[in-house]
Amino acid sequence: MTPVVSVQDLSKRYGAVAAVDGVSFELRRNGIYGLLGRNGAGKTTLMQLLTGQQFATAGTVRVLGADPVENERVLRQVSFIKESQRYPETYKVRHVLLAGRLLFPAWDEAFARSLVADFQLPPSRPVKKLSRGMLSALGVTVGLASRAPITFFDEPYLGLDAVARQLFYDRLLADYAEHPRTVVLSTHLIDEVSDLLEHVLLIERGRLVLDEAADTLRGQVVTVTGPAQTVDRLTANADELHREHLGPLTRATVRGAVSAGDAREAGVQLEPVSLQQLVVRITTREAVS
């Protein structure tokens, strides 16, 4: 199937700093992607490049088959909700919703109203008077109700409490089931969204270090706990990400094939690693190398 987003050797440099450094990947039509990485890894810059808000230093971006920069046809099918979104001083909540209704062709007003009610957003309150959490809820409402074929959420849930975050995840999943689209979630709360994600992109210091289906990843990275020699033997063909010692035992976090049968026979413990642990391990190793 043709990808909705296709990126080739994309770079964005600010002076000597490469915020995005030679990144290539594709996004399929309909899927929930996790764009993960540390603060300052380049996630926001990457999404700004994909939505034509920043200009690339090198490389190509194709969104729905075309360059997104100044492309009305493409951009009206793209929604980018970012935590740092600025609003005009005089705007009230309802003005932002009006903007969504006027600008996104697939906007669903009834859905927007139900989200406003769910998040208890006061329509007549000036945006600058909203709490951090309400501001995030407003962004989430616009992002979901826009029903854009490609929707980016850049840390949209900062300030949202656990109940509101769960509401967001539930509404996103329910609406995604009825109206499939390509959703990119950038987040720090990896364990919270790991069940939602179908595909993971991990970016570290501007470079893409992981581009893998979530299901593949879940089986791929494990911890092996046992006597050092046995652990070494079992993980000889795997890529070691981390190792720690607990008294006489060694615990290695590895990526690659470790046979469950061999592990059982050797009497070592084999455990799957959470997506968050996996991201931490891979990121840490990338930072060292």
Partner: protein
């Protein structure tokens, strides 16, 4: 609905308070003038002119700067292109300027017809306007208003592209250019000639003709700056 018109509507939504306030200030200034001149009675000199209109022109400048500094990052965040944003701002600015110009021409006609509100007060008009037809009057009110708006817009685009330092640099550059020009005029002893040149201009070319060239130049510079700006 056409997308550019939709974005212009969003400019209007952000501007709602801004459209009303200058009129309120104008009304207050007008009321104060009426009171003062009413109290002075026969002591008024020959058809005094007040500066009450300035509020409309100064808020136009502020509007231009705010429209860029605040609406531009929001609009781009809502998947609007820079081209659409600029076209919508142009549309809204022209409509707003036309509305103010019509209002001011009507008020100054009333002022003339009532003999300066019964007390020879000049608030909306200026002496030379009486000699012009309505189309010229509209232009004489509108073009300086456009020029003020575009000055604000130009500063706003410099701000979104190069931030505060850019604005300071731009203001310094303008002051430097102005000082240099004044210096050259002084050096070549051209002040009398310059003064004569200004006196030779008709009201229409003074307030509409030459400023419209500045409007076009500022619009072009603003677009050149904005098309590479990021939110």
């Amino acid at each position: 609905m056409n997308r550019v018109v939709a974005i212009a509507r969003l400019h209007a939504a952000g501007r709602r308070d801004g459209l009303v306030w200058p009129l309120v200030i104008l009304a207050i200034a007008f009321a104060v003038n009426l009171l003062v001149f009413g109290a002075m009675g026969d002591d008024i000199g020959d058809r005094p002119v007040t500066g009450g209109l300035a509020s409309v022109y100064i808020t136009a400048l502020a509007f231009g700067a705010v429209a860029i500094a605040q609406q531009f990052p929001f609009a781009l965040g809502m998947s609007v292109t820079r081209r659409e944003f600029a076209a919508a701002l142009g549309l809204f600015t022209v409509a707003q300027t036309a509305a103010y110009a019509v209002l001011l021409v009507v008020l100054q006609a009333v002022e003339d017809a009532t003999g300066g509100w019964g007390m020879r007060l000049r608030f909306f008009g200026a002496g030379f306007l009486d000699r012009e037809g309505v189309p010229a009057q509209l232009l004489i009110y509108a073009v300086p208003l456009l020029l003020m708006t575009l000055t604000g817009v130009a500063l706003g685009t410099v701000y979104v592209r190069w931030h505060s330092n850019g604005v300071f640099a731009a203001v310094c550059a303008v002051l430097l250019a102005g000082g240099l020009t004044a210096g050259l005029v002084t050096k070549y002893g051209s002040w009398p000639a310059t003064g004569e040149w200004f006196l030779r201009q008709s009201a229409l070319s003074m307030f509409a003709g030459w400023p419209s060239i500045a409007v076009v130049v500022l619009a072009a510079l603003s677009w050149a700056t904005l098309r590479r700006a990021t939110p």
